[in-house]
C-alpha cells in the first residue's frame, strides 16, 4: 500500500512522474505557500523555492505553514515552504533562493513548470518572458480585492496557463501597457493590498490541478491555453471569454527568436568544463553513451543549495 493509492487514477507511472518533476515556485506568500503544500501532498519531488521575504505578522492570516513562533525568528518564506515540503515527503530535491527571482534564474531554467504568485504586473510579465525564453510552461496566479464603493468589496482573481508559443498574459489582456503604467504610478504609494486565505486557496488549487494535468493527465482533451476567472463573491471559477477565443493561436509578443541566452558561446561552455577533444570512438561516436542508461538528469537543482 502506498500513500498515493487514492490518486492512482492519475496513472500507473504517476508516482514516478510526479516525483521526477521539478517545479519552480516564485512567490511563497498566500498563493505560493498553498501550492507548495498541495504539490508536496501530491508527491512532486523537485522544487526551486524563491521568495526574498521573511514572514511578518500580516502574513499570518494566510501563509500556509507559517507559525506565530516564526515571527520572532523572522523565518524566511522559503524556509517555511521547505519545511512544509519536508514534512510531507521523503527526500525531496529542493533549492531555496531567498532573493528576487532574477537571482534564481540558473535554477529556474532547469524547471519543468514555473508557477508565479507575484503581486506586480511588471514582475509577472518578466517572469513569463523568462519562462518562454527557456520553453517552460508558466502558470500565473493573481488575486485582488476591489472596493465597490458602497461598503462592499469584490474578490476576484485569475489563473492562466501560458505555454511557450501559445497565447501569453498580454494576449489574454491581463498585461497591458496601461496597467503597467498605472502600477508604475502607484509604486511606493499604497499600502499592502488586501489578501485572504480562502481565495488564495481556490486559485492555488486551480493551479495545482493544471500542474497535475501537465505532468500526469487524468483526461485527454485539456485546452492548451487556460485562462480561468475566479469570482470570490459568487464562488465561481469560469473560463474567461478569451480562453476559447485564443485557443490554438500563436503569440506575437514573444517571438521564437527570443529563445535561449542572447550571448551563449559553446566554446566557453567547453572551456569552462575543460572538456578536451576526445579520441575518436568506434562508429564515430562515444560507445560509452550507449552503454549507460540515462535517468532523470535535469530534475535536479544546483548542488550549492541543494539538500536531499
Amino acid at each position: 500500500m502506498s500513500r498515493f493509492d487514492r490518486q492512482s487514477f492519475l496513472g500507473s507511472d504517476s508516482e514516478e512522474r510526479l516525483f521526477g518533476a521539478m517545479l519552480g515556485l516564485v512567490g511563497l506568500g498566500g498563493g505560493g505557500s498553498h501550492v507548495a503544500q498541495q504539490t508536496a501532498h501530491l508527491g512532486i519531488g523537485g522544487y526551486v523555492l524563491v521568495d526574498p521575504d521573511h514572514i511578518t505578522e500580516t502574513n499570518t492570516n494566510r501563509l500556509i505553514g507559517g507559525r506565530l513562533a516564526d515571527l520572532k525568528n523572522e523565518v524566511k518564506k522559503t524556509a517555511i515552504a521547505e519545511r512544509q515540503i519536508r514534512g510531507l515527503m521523503e527526500r525531496p530535491r529542493t533549492a531555496t533562493v531567498t532573493d528576487t527571482w532574477h537571482n534564481a534564474t540558473a535554477d529556474l531554467k532547469a524547471c519543468d513548470i514555473i508557477v508565479g504568485s507575484l503581486d506586480s504586473f511588471v514582475q509577472r510579465e518578466q517572469l513569463e518572458r523568462f519562462a518562454r525564453r527557456y520553453l517552460i510552461p508558466y502558470i500565473d496566479m493573481g488575486m485582488d480585492v476591489h472596493d465597490l464603493g458602497n461598503g462592499e468589496f469584490l474578490i476576484a482573481g485569475q489563473v492562466v496557463l501560458s505555454m511557450p508559443g501559445g497565447p501569453c498574459l498580454r494576449c489574454a489582456g491581463l498585461i497591458t501597457d496601461e496597467r503597467l503604467a498605472a502600477e508604475a504610478n502607484r509604486y511606493g504609494a499604497a499600502g499592502a493590498r488586501p489578501q485572504v486565505v480562502w481565495s488564495n486557496g481556490v486559485l492555488a488549487s486551480t493551479a495545482v490541478g493544471i500542474i497535475v494535468q501537465l505532468l500526469t493527465p487524468w483526461f485527454r482533451k485539456m485546452p492548451q491555453f487556460i485562462y480561468l476567472d475566479y469570482d470570490g463573491n459568487r464562488g465561481t471559477v469560469t473560463p474567461n471569454e478569451r480562453m476559447n477565443l485564443y485557443q490554438g493561436r500563436t503569440c506575437r509578443h514573444h517571438p521564437p527568436e527570443e529563445t535561449g541566452d542572447l550571448l551563449f558561446d559553446v566554446r566557453k561552455f567547453v572551456r569552462r568544463r575543460a572538456i578536451p577533444p576526445r579520441k575518436e570512438a568506434k562508429n564515430g561516436g562515444s560507445n560509452l553513451f550507449h552503454k549507460i542508461r540515462a535517468g532523470r538528469i535535469f530534475g535536479k537543482a544546483s548542488s550549492r543549495r541543494e539538500r536531499g
Binding site: 531554467k109 551563449f264 559553446v266 576526445r278 553513451f289 532523470r296 535535469f298
Partner: protein
C-alpha cells in the same frame, strides 16, 4: 551531477536536453511526411537557441525550415540526398542568425528511432562544417519517429558527437523521454 548523467571517457558528464514545443514538432513531422517528386523521404533543418548551467546544456528549438524540392539530388541509392544549395542555405541561416542548426529527418514508426549507418557517415561529413560559420553554437542532427526523437550534438568541430540525453516535448501534457 546526477548519478545517471552520461559521462565522457574523461569522466566528465554533459547533460544535453532538447526542448521543443509540440506545435513545432508536429509541424516538422507533417512537413517531413510530404511526398517529394523523386526523393523517398524529406529532410530539413531546425534552428535553436541555447543555454547552460554547470554540466547541463539546453537546446531550445526555435524554428524549422524544409529543404526546398529543387535542392535534392537524384540518388536512388539513398532515401534523400541534399544538394550543395541545401547545405549552403543552412550554413547561411546559422551564420546570419547565430543559431545552432540541427539536420532533421524521419524514420516512420512508433518506436525509439536511431540513425542508420549512412546517416552517421553523412552527418560526420557536413555537421562539423557549421562550426566554420557559427563556432559559438553546437550543431547536430535529429531523427524523428512518429512518437519519439533521437539526436547527436557536436560541441566543437574537433570532438565527436555526444548523444542528446533528454527530450522535452512542451505541450499539454508535457512529454519527456531519455533515449539512452
Amino acid at each position: 551531477m546526477d548519478e545517471h548523467a552520461v559521462r565522457t571517457p574523461e569522466g566528465r558528464g554533459v547533460n544535453v536536453q532538447l526542448r521543443i514545443t509540440r506545435h513545432l514538432l508536429h509541424t516538422v513531422r507533417l512537413d517531413l511526411a510530404r511526398p517529394h517528386p523523386f526523393a523517398y523521404e524529406r529532410v530539413g533543418f531546425l534552428a535553436a537557441g541555447l543555454s547552460s548551467r554547470a554540466n547541463d546544456l539546453w537546446v531550445l528549438v526555435r524554428s524549422y525550415r524544409a529543404v526546398a524540392d529543387g535542392d535534392y539530388l537524384h540518388d536512388p541509392s539513398v532515401g534523400a540526398m541534399m544538394g550543395p544549395e541545401a547545405i549552403r542555405k543552412a550554413l547561411q541561416w546559422a551564420m546570419s542568425d547565430g543559431v545552432a542548426i540541427f539536420h532533421v529527418h524521419a524514420h516512420p514508426g512508433r518506436g525509439h528511432p536511431r540513425f542508420s549507418g549512412l546517416d552517421l557517415r553523412e552527418q560526420a561529413k557536413f555537421v562539423p562544417n557549421f562550426f566554420h560559420v557559427a563556432p559559438q553554437c553546437p550543431h547536430g542532427a535529429l531523427v524523428l519517429s512518429d512518437v519519439f526523437a533521437y539526436g547527436h550534438i557536436w560541441l566543437s568541430e574537433d570532438r565527436p558527437y555526444d548523444v542528446i540525453t533528454r527530450f522535452s516535448e512542451v505541450g499539454v501534457p508535457l512529454k519527456e523521454w531519455s533515449p539512452l
